[in-house]
Symmetry: C2
Subunit: 301 residues, 2 copies
């Protein structure tokens, strides 16, 4: 991979912007759960929001499960749980599709899984899963980043053939720190400065210090594509390309923001060795073993 | 004042919410620059936004002056300049209506001054002035607060008969940390816990530790009034009541947010002694000496 790698990053030379060489929508035989128009929008913008994909009852059921898990994990000090530095609250829990029956069923729900299969043009597996809770009043911002830049360098994901799916469990308004994206930014790869230290993930999940894109390159992307807030009611789902530049502002409103986050990767895009000889991140953050294609179900939640 | 003070705060008993006893719009003889409908909206919501009050040429002229001042003050280490902790950039400069000829003229510009005189129903003077610069990429959030709660306790402002006027010098979108307000919150007074230490202002202008409203009371206000973003193009002006609950989220966009901020106070509402026997804040933050009514002008900027 290193020889012909079009996506070099985390080196000590200067930051750079290079063109994406991979497709965004992979044209293959699977087309379910997504229209041709939606495919075109996704190819152009790098994201696709589908409103009302889950009912109010399902949202309530999932949100209750999320809060139950946060409560259980608050006392357990497990590595899958990310604790907010100031408030000591559980902000995220990783690996929920293996740790919890409800989320295990959800990850193969055809409403989300088929969209991933159709856009990535192949069978897929789950690279990463988590639940996120951004508290009201003191929710912190999360700086701009391309997930692929991290997955490529720290996990050895070879190509841009993965996507994220964020299932909104609370209403996301313009006020409570919604997902911000730069439309079209997925067509450009921002290589970041600085070699990754070993076990960087233990810190980076709280505050990113490597893999931070250069400010003037961000300005260049934002001047081209503008900035879009993925606002929507609970039950909406946002799918976005692995290389889409995204982040979020803080949340001083009293209204918390919760979602479930699945990353689907093509079975043809399995992880290799991380860049720069660093140690691979653990299975609960980046799957290397549990990589069988998952089959869609239409179970009632 | 202490005997009959309806707005006690900064004490060690618990936080409280009490009804405002003062008018919002003071019905007197002056009515210029604002319609009856606008007065009613302001009375109900606690704020009033007037778009396009300054032309694009005027905005450019004012923004150039703001940047020139920031540059001059960056090297001077003057107390009027508030430096951002992380970036070491000049975030705010106080007292600009005395330090700078352009802003001295602007503070008496009839387009803003007459709105203040009409809403406060009397002649007014400038309690405080400043320019604000919220940088792109790393602009920090500012937590909810009522200005009056601070001015009452730390400056001894007796009554709610003052307003702020924010002149937007860059476009404020939903993305770059615009002013957030809770409509209707100005009708309620949130008393805050904790006695103010002396010289608190030296810290509080960077990060508020006293005068922070209770989270459940904020939720109560937001459930009643919702949350509104004061978004608008450069040249718009937002007038808001001294007791309106407001704050702003962070700004990770590459687009900075700059404004000029004047506080007009009724000449019938001059400062008394601060609560709790603390030392008054300096003249450049809270005017005690320079309190003559200012007369409107219609000079070209």
């Amino acid at each position: 991979m290193q020889m012909s790698n079009p996506y070099l990053t985390r080196r000590n030379d200067s930051a750079a912007i290079v063109a994406r060489v991979d497709p965004v929508v992979y044209e293959e035989s699977i087309t379910q759960g997504v229209s041709e128009q939606q495919k075109q929008d996704y190819a152009k913008n790098g994201f696709l929001q589908i409103d009302h994909l889950f009912s109010a009852e399902e949202v309530k059921y999932l949100l209750d499960e999320l809060h139950q898990m946060r409560q259980d994990f608050a006392v357990q000090q497990r590595p899958e749980a990310i604790i907010e530095r100031e408030s000591q609250e559980v902000r995220s829990i990783f690996n929920v599709h293996r740790l919890n029956e409800v989320f295990k069923n959800l990850v193969s729900d055809e409403r989300v899984l088929n969209v991933a299969r159709s856009l990535l043009g192949s069978e897929v597996y789950v690279h990463q899963s988590r639940i996120n809770y951004k508290p009201g009043l003191h929710g912190k911002e999360f700086f701009w980043h391309s997930d692929f830049e991290t997955w490529h360098s720290e996990d050895g994901m070879p190509r841009m053939r993965a996507l994220s799916c964020s299932i909104l469990l609370t209403d996301n308004s313009e006020h409570n720190g919604p997902l911000l994206v730069i439309p079209g930014s997925h067509k450009h790869y921002i290589s970041c400065q600085g070699e990754t230290p070993d076990e960087h993930y233990k810190k980076s999940l709280k505050k990113q210090e490597y893999g931070v894109p250069d400010g003037s390159l961000l300005e260049y992307l934002a001047d081209m594509g503008g900035i879009h807030s993925c606002t929507g009611l609970a039950g909406s789902v946002v799918f976005f390309d692995c290389n889409l530049m995204h982040g979020s502002n803080s949340n001083i409103t009293p209204f918390s923001r919760s979602n479930i986050f699945f990353v689907y990767n093509s079975i043809d895009n399995q992880l290799q060795q991380p860049l720069g000889g660093i140690k691979p991140r653990p299975e609960f953050i980046a799957a290397r073993e549990d990589i069988d294609a998952i089959q869609p179900n239409n179970l009632e939640l």
